[in-house]
Structures are given as C-alpha cells and as structure tokens.
C-alpha cells in the first residue's frame, strides 16, 4: 500500500518483532528452533515497577497525562494532547442525520454465554437466547408500539439487519443495546467505514446512530 511508515515498509517479520519486543526473542530466534522455546523475559516471580524504573515509552519517559506525541501532530487535525471528552457521534450530528437516525446503537452489550462470534452455533448455549435480540428501553418501546419478541429492522445509512425486540429498563432512553457476533445479524454492517477514532484510526464498532422499524415476519 506504500504507506508512509518505516516499520510497515520493513515487512511482516519486523512488525511482529516490534509487537513481541520485550519478551527477549525475535521471529528469527523462533524460526531457529523447531520446538517451543521458553520466553527468557518470563521470570517468576514478576518484579513490578520496571516501567517506573526504566521509564515509559513516551517522549518524556514519564506517564503522560499530556501526550507529547499528540502535541507534536499538526494542530490542523484538531487533536487534544489532554484526554478531553469528544462526542463519539460528532461525525453524524448534523440535523438531517439526527432526525433520520435518532437512536444510539450500542453494540457493547455482552451475554455470559456468547464470546464474540464464537459460541453462537453451540446448541445448548444458543438455546438461552435463540434469536439476535435488540434491547429497547421501556418508554421507547411504548412510544413505538414494540412488544417483546417482535421482529424489527435496525437501519443506518450503511446497512440494515433484523433482530427481535426485548423491552428492558436496563438501558437508557434513546439507546438500542445489542451484541456483536451474529452471522445473520451482523451489527458491524450498520457502522460506516469512516466512523473512526480520530486519534488511533480504530473503527468505532461500539456505537453508531441508527433507527428501528417494525417488519413483517420474514
């Protein structure tokens, strides 16, 4: 992709070496052995305080509340070196989008028996909640006339998925709460590809504007 990044240009192994840096081994060391080898840095008992003694991996070597790395970035990108609050929906707060997609889709919910996309196909576990479910706050459900178990469509400018309603007082008004990992109702399809964390570039998979409507049973 010819990105302006020396580490990426140095290739895959250099990147892995960077990731495992500190364990006392490199990819070349691992390749030299055909059996598993012990990690030299894994010495028990662990001695805490290494970073305080040797310094953190920051420009100042200190634990930085004011990030010198971010301060060095061109101010035109609008990044604050201090950990100030930013609305996670700031890229979609124009009046038209707000009116068309009044709900905040929170995909950060968890069920004890569902681990990401992994355990949805295990029959015993799946039996606990067989259908992909969207939790709707009681007053919102009342206003929209939604009942428990009713099929609905969730839609955003980027896609639509179908789920079943669970009315709950556990969330907040205006919040639709669900979990990720369903093959037949993939919440990530509702999230735009440019909805990114402005600091790290990481996709904002946990929150999005969306709306909900009743559908006939498919």
């Amino acid at each position: 992709m010819d990105l302006d990044d020396d580490l990426l240009k140095a290739g895959h192994e250099a990147c892995v070496d960077w990731m495992i840096d500190g364990c006392g081994l490199t990819v070349a060391d691992l390749k030299a052995h055909d059996k598993p080898i012990k990690v030299p840095a894994a010495v028990w008992p662990v001695q805490p305080g290494k970073l305080l003694k040797d310094g953190f991996k920051t420009p100042s070597g200190k634990f930085e509340f004011y990030s010198n790395a971010i301060a060095a970035i061109d101010p035109k990108y609008g990044l604050d070196p201090l950990p100030s609050y930013r609305d996670p929906l700031e890229d979609q707060n124009d009046p038209e989008t707000k009116a068309a997609y009044p709900f905040y889709l929170c995909t950060g919910a968890r069920l004890p028996h569902a681990i990401h996309s992994r355990t949805h196909e295990t029959p015993w576990l799946r039996s606990l909640r067989p259908d992909p479910t969207i939790e709707v706050y009681t007053t919102d459900a009342e206003r929209l006339g939604l009942q428990n178990g009713e099929p609905v469509e969730l839609y955003s400018p980027y896609g639509k998925i179908r789920m079943k309603v669970k009315v709950t007082a556990r969330s907040q008004p205006g919040v639709l709460m669900t979990l990720h990992g369903y093959t037949e109702a993939n919440v990530n399809e509702l999230i735009g590809r440019n909805h990114l964390d402005p600091y790290s570039g990481y996709p904002g998979f946990k929150g999005m504007r969306c709306n909900i409507r009743k559908v006939q049973e498919a």
Binding site: P112, H113, P123, W124, L125, S127, L128, V167, A169, R170
Partner: protein, 174 residues
C-alpha cells in the same frame, strides 16, 4: 439424609450456568424438542414509584414435601426417595397421559415427545446419594443455588428453600 434445594434470589443474575450444568448432566437433546429441566428468568417488574425490580430466578422441580404429581400418576411412576427426599421417578410404565404435568403448579414434569414418556428433574439423585452436588448447584458461580441437608437448612435459619415458595404463593391445600 434428606436434602433441600436453597435458592438465594439476591445472588442470582440469571446467567444460566445452572441450565448448562443441567443440560450436560441429563444429555438433553434440544434438537429433538426436549427442554432443559431447569429454567432461568430475568423478569423486569415495573414498580409504582417508577423504578424497576429485576427478578432473577432459577427454577426446576421444587421437590415439594407433599408433591401433587405423585398421587396424580395413574401408574405409580413417581415417588419420594426415602434417602434424599427428592421427587424421583421410574418411567418404565409411563403411559404419557401428562396427569403429573397438569397436577404440578410449576410445570416441572415434561412430556418427552421422542419416546412418549414423562421426564423431570430428579435433583440429580444419584449424584447426591454419592456425595456430589447436583449439576446445577455445581455450575452456579455465585452461590445462589445450593443443596444442603435438612438439618443444615434448619440450623441455617434460612427461609429460602425452593419449596418454601409453595407456602409463599399459598398453593398448598389448606
């Protein structure tokens, strides 16, 4: 030694680990339409003051002291194990009439379509007789579901025996 299932609602979050223990112990075949003997509930009850009461419940056979399913069975499948006090069964002679299910206030006995027989929670009778916890109790991470001897239960001063619910609901014949 008679045993008592004790359920502490304050410790339950309806995580359903008990159901997984039960399904595993009884090799329940969900694909054949069979159901777990134990069920969990996470009911939300709106309160007069605008708040919500979250009722987390795990329930299976209550192993009633005077179990109505026992006299309801026309072929004598159900009986009390004199050792554990659990309501157990031998469904060899079961004719699938569902009288036990109708007599039970909790719907604990289930009609199993795959062989036309009644099945129910037997309190993991064999496990308990051999000094083990019932599978659901073993799976409960929070100590919400326990199984103790009648003596231990009486000494604890608890009022949370599962079959105490029968008294609370006023279901017992006067």
């Amino acid at each position: 030694m008679k045993h008592v299932f004790v359920f502490d609602q304050d410790k339950c979050s309806a995580c359903s680990a008990c159901m997984m223990g039960c399904l595993d112990q009884n090799d329940t075949d969900l694909a054949a339409g069979d159901k777990c003997f134990r069920q969990t509930f996470d009911n939300e009850i709106p309160l007069a003051d605008g708040g919500t009461y979250f009722a987390y419940i795990s329930a299976a056979c209550m192993h009633c002291v005077d179990a109505p399913c026992i006299p309801a069975c026309p072929v004598g499948c159900l009986y009390k194990d004199p050792e554990t006090g659990f309501t157990v069964y031998d469904n060899t002679n079961c004719i699938g009439c569902k009288s036990c299910a109708m007599a039970c206030p909790f719907g604990a006995p289930r009609y199993r379509a795959s062989d036309g027989k009644m099945v129910k929670c037997d309190g993991c009778n064999e496990r308990v007789k051999n000094g083990l916890d019932p599978a659901c109790v073993r799976a409960c991470s929070f100590g919400a579901l326990t199984c103790v001897t009648e003596e231990e239960y009486k000494a604890s001063g608890s009022t949370k025996a599962c079959n105490a619910l029968i008294d609370q609901l006023g279901l017992r014949k006067k």
